[in-house]
């Protein structure tokens, strides 16, 4: 953000067009502007996720572009209910994403199981149980505008990060298995 805001005046002061900036801010700026997403749409929220990338909401303008291949993406948008049967697949897709990577949980189902918190035996109570989530978006389903807000929040987070070894946020590449299996609900 900071670089773009000041780019005009900086160019005025430096006739040769040379900009001096921290490597950190440059990298963060570039990363934040191009968060390619892995749409992990499993249920109802996926419809709003699709709506978000089409005509009216057009998320391409934020640099957020859905790529179905995890190896091309930076942020996984988990939209929908995750069941115990689906959980290993989601985990594996997360592990296949290259670092640095972020996770957005879209919808109440990813927060806590949402409407499926009580009385069911097959739903994971929130993806926080097995994924490191950066931004949660509440709603059942959240409007595309909320998702937009979530992506902008994530961008703020991304722009605060540093690539210096000491300051780098460490993320486990392989996740520990959650300590409960199917059927052990409530």
């Amino acid at each position: 953000m900071a670089i773009v805001d000041r780019i005009g005046e900086t160019l005025d002061r430096t006739p040769g067009g040379v900009i001096l900036t921290g490597v950190d801010s440059l990298v963060d700026w570039a990363r934040g502007k191009s968060l390619w997403s892995m749409p992990m749409g499993t249920a109802c929220c996926a419809m709003e996720l699709i709506a978000a990338s089409f005509n009216k909401f057009d998320f391409d303008r934020h640099g957020t572009f859905p790529r179905p291949d995890p190896r091309h993406t930076d942020v996984m948008i988990v939209a929908g209910t995750i069941t115990y049967k689906m959980m290993p697949a989601v985990k594996r897709l997360y592990e296949q994403m290259p670092d640095p990577k972020w996770v957005i949980g879209m919808g109440n189902c990813t927060l806590s199981g949402g409407i499926f918190y009580y009385d069911t035996y097959s739903v994971v109570r929130g993806i926080g149980e097995f994924l490191p989530v950066d931004v949660y978006i509440a709603g059942c389903p959240p409007r595309p505008e909320s998702l937009q807000d979530g992506i902008l929040r994530l961008r703020e987070l991304v722009e605060q990060e540093s690539i210096a070894p000491g300051k780098r946020r460490d993320r486990a590449l392989t996740l520990p298995a959650p300590d409960h299996g199917c059927g052990e609900a409530e």
């Binding site: 089409f54 989601v90 389903p141």
Partner: protein
């Protein structure tokens, strides 16, 4: 079953010849499985010899949950069944409850239900046609179709405040009457939608690439469609003239003049095209319903919050965008259903996949799956 089943298998054919089969795994997260379906495909070269759908990745136990909720509390759960067409599940469930507890429905509510369900049919078919286009490489069509869907969703938002999970149809009526000016918005939409449909018809169905990709692919004969219990556009694409709105008339449908479009070849092209023509018919029904509607109450007054139907069971079905959607309810006289069972058209239609895909190329499998239009919330429940 392990997630990675990619292997080679030596298989002996009927003629005693040993061929090398490649087993590939599509899904459960794949952009063209329309949700979380997983298909295990056996390939001989590029030809599919066997395709085996594995379902259950979205099994949320909705039928079981319903046993612990009161009759009114189940309505929001039904929204999450078929999330591309929530109004249908609402309505099918409410019809069952009304039959079970003998609840009258005011006439205006019936008209409102018909209008929202026909709008929902348009929204759902736009999604199906659009993704059919995207699966065969015509992403443009998806954008065109999604634009139309967005208009419907906006109308619903005006009506009941939600874009996707409406909770609109309730036992004994609907939750809100139309807001002021809504009828005019709907009329304006149907008028504009017709020209958009004509444009899509020319753009997609007249396209030589589309014809090449969809014609003659996944042919389903009329006999097979009946034998497998297919319904909705999948059966009608094969020329089976079966539509519950005409052949088991419910609600106020007998008062409208509309046709049932049917296909002739039963291939992917016909199934998609039947959906397009159903949108025209939906526009016709909506316009007639708006003209016939009389002022009146939109729900039965004095209905208790806790409905306790007498012991017994009831089944009722409606024609959803995917086919015959039925809900079977058993009551033991308490305020909660003893058992709820959903007859899901998407599940029955998906069962056709192995039959249809056999002998086709791998890339056609995606088109076949798309033309069956499964929604996994409803398949897995």
């Amino acid at each position: 079953m392990p997630l990675d089943v990619e292997s080679r298998e030596a298989v002996e054919t009927a003629e005693g010849e040993v061929v090398d089969e490649l087993v590939v795994n599509v899904g459960p997260s794949h952009p063209s499985t329309h949700g979380v379906c997983r298909v295990i495909i056996h390939l001989d070269g590029e030809i599919v010899t066997r395709a085996e759908p594995v379902i259950g990745y979205l099994h949320r136990g909705i039928e079981k949950m319903a046993e612990n909720r009161t009759y009114l509390q189940v309505v929001p759960l039904t929204d999450r069944l078929d999330y591309v067409g929530s109004m249908y599940s609402n309505w099918a469930y409410c019809r069952s409850v009304e039959r079970l507890a003998d609840i009258p429905v005011p006439e205006r509510a019936e008209y409102l239900r018909v209008i929202v369900c026909e709008l929902q049919r348009i929204a759902s078919h736009m999604m199906a046609i659009g993704s059919n286009g995207a699966d065969t490489g015509a992403l443009t069509l998806f954008v065109y179709a999604f634009d139309q869907r967005e208009h419907v969703v906006e109308l619903f938002e005006e009506l009941c405040g939600q874009r996707l999970t409406y909770n609109y149809v309730r036992p004994g009526g609907v939750s809100h009457d139309m807001p002021e000016g809504w009828a005019d918005d709907v009329r304006a939409f149907t008028a504009a939608h017709r020209s958009a449909l004509a444009e899509m018809d020319k753009l997609f169905f007249g396209n030589v690439i589309t014809r090449g990709r969809l014609k003659g692919i996944g042919v389903l004969s009329a006999d097979d469609a009946v034998a497998w219990g297919a319904s909705g556009p999948v059966a009608r694409g094969s020329g089976v003239n079966w539509d519950l709105r005409k052949h088991d008339p419910y609600s106020v449908y007998p008062r409208f003049d509309f046709d049932i479009p049917t296909g002739t070849d039963g291939d992917c092209y016909d199934r998609a095209r039947v959906r397009l023509y159903e949108c025209y018919e939906s526009c016709r029904i909506i316009e007639q319903a708006l003209a016939q509607m009389q002022p009146g109450p939109h729900r039965t007054e004095g209905l208790p919050r806790l409905i306790a139907p007498p012991p017994g069971d009831a089944y009722d079905h409606i024609e959803s965008a995917r086919g015959a959607l039925g809900v079977y309810l058993v009551s033991d006289g308490s305020t909660r259903p003893y058992r709820m069972k959903v007859r899901s058209p998407a599940f029955c239609n998906l069962a056709l996949l192995p039959t249809l895909a056999e002998g086709h190329m791998l890339s056609d499998l995606v088109a076949i799956l798309g033309s069956l239009d499964p929604v996994f919330g409803e398949v897995d429940r």
